[in-house]
């Protein structure tokens, strides 16, 4: 088992580092700084830290205004509030003007599990991916989170970054470098490709081990950059393995599954099965229990892989 490290802690520390190296970085929070871990930045750089209380819409437009003056704002709130309550602010002020704002969606997917469906965020990728000018990134572990934060600060464009509330197994070592628009082969295989984003990488790797025991060799394509998406790597996977499974902690509508389908329908059509949350709201409960219950268990991945294989063109 890989070491467990908190994604939030990694984010908070990455911001702290950015504060040191980049005086243009400012951090905006909406009354969750103790949980989002922006509190570290706030304590060290109080003159560049702004707590808006519970004002997500105002915060997002303030960030847009700041960006027009050359600052690099990082906004922080629950991912469902960022993308839906403040979604119009993101669209009109940040995306339309292509402003250099980094929108951090905390507690994405089901990771605010005990708080229930009111707090869970299962269609944020679909919303953000459809906005022109917007980049969408979902890291899988603490190392990648830190790398993503560092990388996006250097790219003058709007970003939505999807973070998980939990401690997660670490896959990458400190030498890892995130590249926007690039997917990464996490495992080589020729029978079927598991295309995975965010925290589901862990379960995809476990499923691939089990499938290997059945003689099914899975390729795993890790996709942190949902937009721009690595069309070449996905097309190559369709060509070389002939069957795909998309795996995400998100609705099966409009997220990674949708993005992969959009790519291969116009490049190299191949059977695609989608693992994710069916078109339902979830409920309160233990995080991993909910992932199992709502379509994202290891068994769900295995079943989807076998189904995709069966549908494979002869």
């Amino acid at each position: 088992m890989n070491k467990l490290v908190s994604m939030r802690e990694a984010y908070g520390n990455a911001l702290l580092e950015l504060g040191e190296t980049n005086p243009k970085v400012v951090v905006l929070d909406s009354d969750i700084s103790n949980s989002s871990k922006t509190v570290y930045f706030g304590q060290r750089y109080p003159e560049r830290f702004f707590n808006f209380g519970i004002q997500e819409a105002n915060m997002m437009d303030v960030a847009a205004g700041m960006a027009t003056t050359g600052l690099i704002p990082f906004t922080n709130t629950f991912s469902f509030l960022a993308t839906l309550r403040a979604g119009e602010q993101i669209r009109t002020s940040i995306a339309y003007n292509s402003l250099n704002v980094k929108i951090i969606g905390s507690y994405s997917g089901l990771s605010d599990s005990y708080d229930g469906a009111s707090h869970q965020s299962v269609f944020d990728i679909a919303v953000m991916r459809s906005m022109p000018n917007m980049n969408v990134v979902a890291p899988c572990d603490s190392v990648e989170t830190a790398q993503v934060i560092k990388a996006v600060a250097e790219i003058p464009a709007p970003f939505y970054i999807r973070l998980c509330r939990n401690e997660l197994p670490v896959f990458f070592d400190e030498g890892y470098e995130f590249v926007l628009g690039k997917a990464r082969k996490a495992r080589e295989g020729r029978d079927v490709t598991l295309v995975v984003t965010g925290i589901m990488l862990h379960r995809a790797l476990q499923a691939a081990d089990e499938l290997e025991a059945d003689g099914i060799h899975c390729r795993i394509l890790h996709v942190p950059s949902l937009k721009p998406i690595d069309s070449d790597a996905i097309t190559q996977a369709a060509e070389e393995t002939g069957a795909l499974v998309s795996i995400e902690e998100h609705s099966i509508l409009g997220g990674l599954g949708g993005a992969v389908a959009e790519v291969i329908t116009s490049t190299f059509p191949a059977p695609l099965e989608r693992v994710g949350i069916p078109d339902v709201f979830a409920e309160s409960g233990d995080y991993y229990e909910l992932l199992d219950k709502y379509g994202m268990s290891r068994q769900d991945i295995i079943a989807a892989a076998k189904k995709a294989l069966k549908r494979k063109h002869p």
Binding site: Q55, D61, V62, G65, A67, T69, L71, Q89, S93, Y96
Partner: protein, 281 residues
């Protein structure tokens, strides 16, 4: 049209406003699309901002130290476009392409296509927050400039304004001035019928802003208002500018029906005559 000095006197300002209204009428008539009522109510405010108040330079439109205008009531775009053309920011010949595909002048202000527009607007309720962000940007970066936010009164129905008002007071933003175009009419009818705003001055005061009522059609009073606002250090100021929707054209004045309706040929000719005739003078 020529570039006009940014320190025009009161008589010149009144004349410029009249020119702007005539051009706006022509543009909206030609496009058969656009907002006359709210453009005319805000014209004198826009005139004073661009020809007397704001430190902006068409030779260096993106200068970091320039004053900013957030046209939160973005539907007054035609009046702003004319002011920008008269100040030399944009080519006057582009004015008559308003709202046409492939042309520069979008229906609502767009910072990506028009030099001199500091932020894209159009969707109501965003501007004050954006102004707060710009004012904070000035403080953080240590570059001194003033931020003006032009708000519609109907727009104040949007709750986000009051979030922004709270945050401006929290941060003691003396470099932020809001101007409410208080024409008392929104798209569907009188503001006090559709969603009552009064007591409006007291609302802003309760949010810890400095408040002052001005005559939004009197350049001298508008100028005085800006002097007063800039004198308020460490506290944001709001000017409640009492205006008339459709100002300058009798049959458009105070009528919600002229919020977003283009004039017919007969209406256009009557309106142009009321504004003093030939638009090409």
């Amino acid at each position: 049209m020529t570039t006009t000095s940014p320190t025009a006197n009161v008589e010149e300002l009144a004349k410029i406003s009249n020119q702007i209204r005539k051009k706006v009428l022509n543009m909206v008539y030609k496009a058969q699309s656009g907002h006359l009522g709210g453009s005319f109510s805000a014209t004198d405010l826009i005139t004073v901002l661009y020809f007397n108040e704001m430190n902006v330079d068409p030779e260096d439109p993106a200068s970091p130290g320039r004053d900013r205008l957030v046209p939160s009531k973005g539907h007054c775009a035609p009046a702003i476009y004319v002011a920008l053309a008269m100040r030399g920011f944009i080519d006057p010949s582009s004015l008559y392409d308003l709202r046409q595909a492939g042309c520069m002048l979008q229906g609502h202000p767009c910072m990506k296509s028009v030099e001199g527009i500091d932020i894209s607007t159009g969707s109501l309720g965003h501007g004050l927050s954006i102004g707060v962000g710009m004012a904070l940007g000035s403080e953080i970066s240590g570059i001194d400039f003033h931020v003006y936010v032009l708000l519609g009164d109907g727009e104040l129905n949007e709750g986000q304004n009051w979030e922004a008002a709270m945050s401006a007071a929290k941060h003691s933003l003396g470099n932020l001035t809001a101007i409410v175009d208080r024409n008392r009419v929104q798209l569907d009818g009188p503001t006090e019928e559709i969603m009552p705003l009064e007591p409006l001055l007291e609302k802003w005061q309760a949010f810890n802003w400095k408040t002052r009522e001005i005559d939004g059609h009197d350049p001298a009073d508008i100028k005085k208002g800006f002097v007063w606002a800039k004198g308020n250090r460490d506290i944001p100021s709001v000017l409640i500018a009492n205006t008339v929707k459709g100002k300058g054209v009798s049959f458009m004045e105070n009528s919600h029906l002229w919020h977003g309706k283009p004039p017919s040929q007969a209406e256009y000719e009557a309106a142009l005559q009321e504004l003093g005739g030939d638009s090409n003078e």
